[in-house]
């Protein structure tokens, strides 16, 4: 007798019947995507787990944000889509910057002879580069800007960019680039670049100091304030002067910080009252890139559409070896972008993201990371020869794109720590022993489903300076045994411990057990992995304690240097060993620079630092490689990191998506993507046939449960007082 269930299932049945009736209208019942406008080829993707916070190229500094930004803005430089190792190509600029070296007096000189004081980068804007249509450019017949308001009331009716009836456009000017750089320097914007770039760009510091105490009312026209290191030569050409030599600067030019910002746009968004309706450059990017933003609802989705004024840009015709076979050159020479529209829907739960991908409602398994490590490892198994899809996946001929990010995750020792720190032989041995005990390969296999490569050096693959094979192994931790690196034995580790004065992990003098402390971010580590690490070190008798804390505490500990072993990760800004080796550059230590330095190990080695200084200003080449190798050896000997691995992410894409090659650094690859819509529709219909029988079952159940109730009631009515 289960009336409650009865009623609940009754409710269920009702709901489902209503579904039955209505669902006959459009496609599969479970289609979660909003109806897309007909005739436009739409790329369906997701932002996960959180919407971008900042879309102002001067402020944003997160990969999920640049995913959106890089489709809209076009910095002067960019990367070749296909070629590996990563190759710089001009994007917004006509050509590579022409660099002239200057001496202290500002005269052009030959770099090899005199001491270089400055280097000037001259850039030329592409002739056909134009901005997307945007109300900021809209002018009335007299040529005066249409949307320039004096008080909040006037603009009240506009809540979205799409609300503005008129729009205009114009060519990209050299000054826009200059303006953008000035915005970086404007302390009011609080750009993360400011501190860093001020070290290089001439006059940036003074400029920002000057603006600090400028009274500002609404929009501040930065054109009125010159910056020494910036000069507009003409409509299309401008100069950036930086201190000394800094070859990596061209790489910086490939980041969204340097994309052009038209002053009128900045002015437009400073209209009174706009900020209260979230009408800011931070939410409505305006650029000259392949796409433009038509909708930005951080609660549900971001929609991009083809920028009609996008310059003539074509699919590359040559790529890395094997690309042709992979069909990555089929679209060679086609005009970009290849899709008209891109929808990024907010997806919080990885689980439903994955399900939707399997149901064909997302074109790819992820954008900023493939999610493979987190959930759908079961989609494939990492076999001896790379990735093999599970039967189910293979059946759906889903494509696989491995992507080794130019980044590195590591647990570092604090070299100032009394127990594990220090540079004496014992301490080195101790650290090496710990390194050996932590079986990185196994760890990656279990917790990253093998999507990661144990690091033998701080420099990841694809970056010059990375060495593969026998030459590349870390001889202190590995041996090269028949063609593969094999971790040294536990016995060896134990031996090292004995030499380090910790036989069986007990202090040789006091007999006190060796206990190491690992500072982790509370969210970043799971119970299971803690257990695993415990067991790993238990093998050499070392005890582990964890000190979990949230990001802020962890950061404090790092800044004050009171950690023992800390976890950290680094994603490359640009593909150059310098961007990794500086992680251990002495002056970068927070305790020394009294800043948020990156050298959290507080590693200090005069030799290393000297080499770094030399290497930093060298042009790429064999000589540089040699120095890099030398530095790497130093690090290996000192065993600065407990373990490290290169994050390897695996992206899946449905069969109707083409040109999926991942680019580790550049995010503006959306323009290359091609979609076969017909195939998509067909597959979706195929994969999403609903299962009906539960509805009938539910209905039956309801009846089955109601019946006894009715019977009992009738019996009750017939009852008499006789027995």
């Amino acid at each position: 007798m289960l009336p409650p269930l009865a009623a609940s299932t009754r409710a269920a049945a009702l709901l489902f019947c209503s579904l039955l009736l209505a669902a006959c209208t459009d496609g599969p019942w479970n289609n979660p995507n909003p109806p897309a406008p007909a005739g436009l080829v739409t790329y369906q993707s997701m932002i996960s787990p959180a919407p971008p916070k900042h879309l102002d190229p001067a402020i944003s500094y997160a990969s999920d944000e640049s995913l959106i930004l890089m489709q809209i803005y076009e910095p002067p430089m960019g990367y070749h889509f296909l070629k590996r190792p990563y190759e710089l190509i001009p994007l917004g600029a006509e050509d590579f910057p022409e660099i002239t070296f200057l001496n202290a007096r500002g005269e052009a000189i030959d770099p090899d002879q005199e001491e270089v004081a400055f280097s000037r980068y001259r850039l030329t804007v592409k002739a056909d580069a134009r901005y997307q249509p945007h109300p900021a450019f809209a002018v009335d017949d007299s040529g005066a800007p249409r949307y320039l308001f004096s008080d909040p009331q006037q603009g009240r009716s506009f809540r979205q960019i799409s609300d503005f009836p008129h729009s205009g456009s114009r060519a990209v000017h050299a000054n826009d680039y200059v303006y953008a750089i000035k915005r970086l320097a404007d302390p009011f914007n609080g750009s993360p670049m400011l501190g860093f770039m001020a070290q290089y760009i001439v006059g940036m510091e003074e400029f920002s100091a000057r603006l600090q105490d400028v009274e500002r009312e609404g929009w501040l026209n930065l054109d009125q304030y010159p910056m020494e290191g910036l000069a507009v030569v003409d409509e299309r050409r401008f100069d950036i002067t930086i201190k000394g030599r800094y070859p990596q600067f061209s790489y910086w030019l490939a980041m969204h910080f340097f994309s052009p910002i038209p002053p009128e746009v900045d002015r437009f968004f400073h209209n009174p009252g706009f900020i209260d309706r979230n009408l800011t450059l931070d939410w409505w990017p305006v650029g000259s890139g392949p796409f433009m933003m038509v909708k930005n609802d951080p609660n549900s989705e971001i929609v991009l559409e083809r920028n009609p004024n996008f310059r003539a840009d074509y699919y590359p015709s040559e790529g890395a070896p094997g690309d042709a076979e992979a069909g990555l050159l089929d679209d060679a020479g086609k005009r970009l972008p290849l899709v008209d529209r891109a929808v990024f829907r907010l997806e919080k739960e990885v689980l439903s993201l994955w399900t939707k991908f399997l149901q064909g409602y997302y074109d790819r398994s992820g954008e900023t990371h493939g999610n493979t490590n987190r959930v759908f490892d079961q989609a494939f198994v990492v076999g001896p020869d790379g990735v093999e899809l599970s039967a189910d996946m293979a059946g759906r001929d889903i494509g696989v794109e491995p992507d080794v990010k130019p980044g590195i995750y590591y647990y570092g020792f604090n070299m100032r720590d009394p127990v594990v720190g220090g540079y004496s032989e014992e301490k080195r041995k101790l650290r090496q022993a710990l390194q050996i005990a932590f079986d990185t390969e196994e760890y990656l296999n279990i917790f990253y489903k093998g999507n990661g490569i144990a690091a033998h050096m701080p420099i990841p693959p694809g970056i010059p300076g990375f060495v593969e094979g026998e030459a590349g192994i870390n001889p202190y931790v590995y041996d090269w045994v028949d063609g593969e690196a094999r971790r040294k034995s536990i016995e060896h580790a134990q031996q090292l411990l004995v030499e380090a004065g910790y036989p069986n992990g007990r202090d040789a003098r006091t007999g006190e057990p060796l206990k190491i402390f690992i500072d982790v971010q509370s969210q970043a580590i799971s119970n299971t992995s803690m257990n695993w690490i415990d067991r790993a070190f238990a093998r050499i008798g070392v005890q582990v304690e964890y000190r979990p804390a949230d990001w802020n505490r962890t950061r404090e500990k790092l800044l004050t240097g009171n950690t023992q072993i800390y976890s950290h990760g680094w994603l490359a800004d640009y593909p150059d060993p310098e961007n990794f080796l500086f992680l251990l550059f002495g002056p970068e230590s927070p305790l020394i620079c009294k800043c948020d330095g990156a050298n959290n190990s507080n590693y200090e080695s005069a030799e290393y630092d000297e080499l770094f200084r030399r290497m930093r200003v060298m042009p790429p080449g064999a000589e540089r490689e040699a120095i890099v190798a030398e530095m790497v050896d130093l690090l290996r000997k000192d065993a600065v990191w407990l373990y490290a691995f290169y994050p390897k992410d695996i992206y899946l894409n449905n069969s109707w998506v083409y040109n999926n090659k991942r680019h580790g650094i550049s995010k503006n690859t959306l323009k290359y993507v091609r979609i076969d819509e017909a195939l998509r529709e067909q597959k979706r219909a195929e994969w999403n046939q609903p299962v009906i029988w539960p509805l009938y079952a539910a209905a039956l159940l309801v009846i089955a449960l109601l019946l006894p109730g009715i019977i009992a009631y009738r019996r009750r009515l017939r009852a008499t007082a006789r027995h």
Partner: protein, 325 residues
């Protein structure tokens, strides 16, 4: 009546102040303005200047509760607490730490929350009452005992299992509805079915059980016997006599919740990816966005107090014996 309501509203003010005080203390013991700055600015190249900048920009560059170097009353007024909470009372929630206008976010996110919470609420109550009435009719029989046991069993299952199970079966295995998501265009109900269903089923145990006891309490009253003596049929007694009387206690329990429906359900929304206030709150907690947390707490409290007042009013409507004053 009117006087009563006004008085209650006035009484709300000290409560809201207390609520604010509590949230502030809690939150700032947890993390200083600097921490907030850091967690907002991300983790690369965070310079002290940037932090100062952020604090100044977001108005966290003042002392928390007491401004020692100010004079007179400004000691209290020239503080973060005063600035922020006075604004609240004017329903100006200001901007989130990430720079968005909270008021407009709340306004937009309110509706999805309602879209889920309201049907769940109404259908839920409907189903529960029906079930409870059915069970009451067979009070004392095996039917009754079985049902009660089932209720308790249903109650004893964690909400999470209902959600996980529902998604797994209905959405994933049977492919009857989208597993998650929400968009205003097209058929919204498509996304509501599963959350509502889960919500209702999960609620039956506790709800029906509670209503049953209420109904039984009424069923034992004298006037029910009077009605029998008149010759009313069981059904008439149930619907004409017991139900209207049981409505009174039901109202107390239920009406309080109505305003809070706006706040949505944390779990349901985050599992089913519904962009409502519930998930808004969760995100705020996770990203430690104090501005949002503060505003949500404030709204929450107001709604709760509103609920209390509504309850009293609904009393007068349901129970002729009650007069407000």
């Amino acid at each position: 009546m009117f006087a009563y309501i006004v008085r209650r509203l006035l009484y709300a003010i000290p409560i809201l102040i207390g609520v604010n005080l509590l949230t502030f203390t809690l939150f700032f013991v947890v993390n200083s303005p600097d921490d907030m700055a850091v967690s907002q600015l991300g983790d690369k190249y965070v310079t002290p200047e940037a932090i100062e900048n952020w604090k100044q920009k977001n108005g966290y560059d003042k002392p928390l509760f007491l401004n020692p170097d100010a004079a007179g009353l400004t000691r209290l007024t020239d503080t973060i607490f005063f600035d922020k909470s006075v604004r609240l009372f004017a329903f100006d929630f200001g901007r989130s730490e990430s720079g968005r206008d909270i008021t407009s976010d709340v306004a937009t996110r309110m509706w999805p929350s309602l879209a889920v919470a309201l049907p769940t609420f109404i259908v839920g109550i409907g189903v529960n009452i029906c079930v409870a009435l059915m069970v009451v009719m067979f009070h004392g029989t095996r039917l009754d005992r079985g049902a009660v046991f089932l209720f308790v069993a249903l109650m004893s299952i964690s909400y999470l299992f209902y959600i996980i199970g529902g998604q797994f079966l209905v959405a994933k295995t049977w492919r009857l509805v989208p597993i998650s998501g929400f968009h205003a265009e097209g058929q919204v109900w498509k996304f509501l079915i599963l959350p509502v269903l889960v919500g209702v089923v999960a609620g039956i145990g506790a709800g029906a059980r509670w209503y049953r006891t209420l109904f039984l309490e009424e069923a034992n009253q004298d006037y029910v016997r009077t009605a029998r003596a008149k010759g009313c049929s069981e059904l008439t007694i149930l619907f004409r006599h017991i139900l209207p009387n049981a409505l009174i206690p039901i109202l107390t329990g239920v009406v309080v919740l109505i305003p809070s429906l706006f706040m949505g359900s944390l779990l349901i929304e985050s599992f089913f990816g519904i962009p409502g206030l519930g998930s808004y709150m969760l995100d705020a907690i996770n990203s430690q966005d104090f501005a949002i947390v503060r505003s949500m707490v404030f709204i929450g409290s107001i709604l709760y107090i509103l609920g209390l007042i509504l309850t009293d009013i609904s009393y007068t409507w349901a129970d002729p014996r009650v007069r407000l004053s």
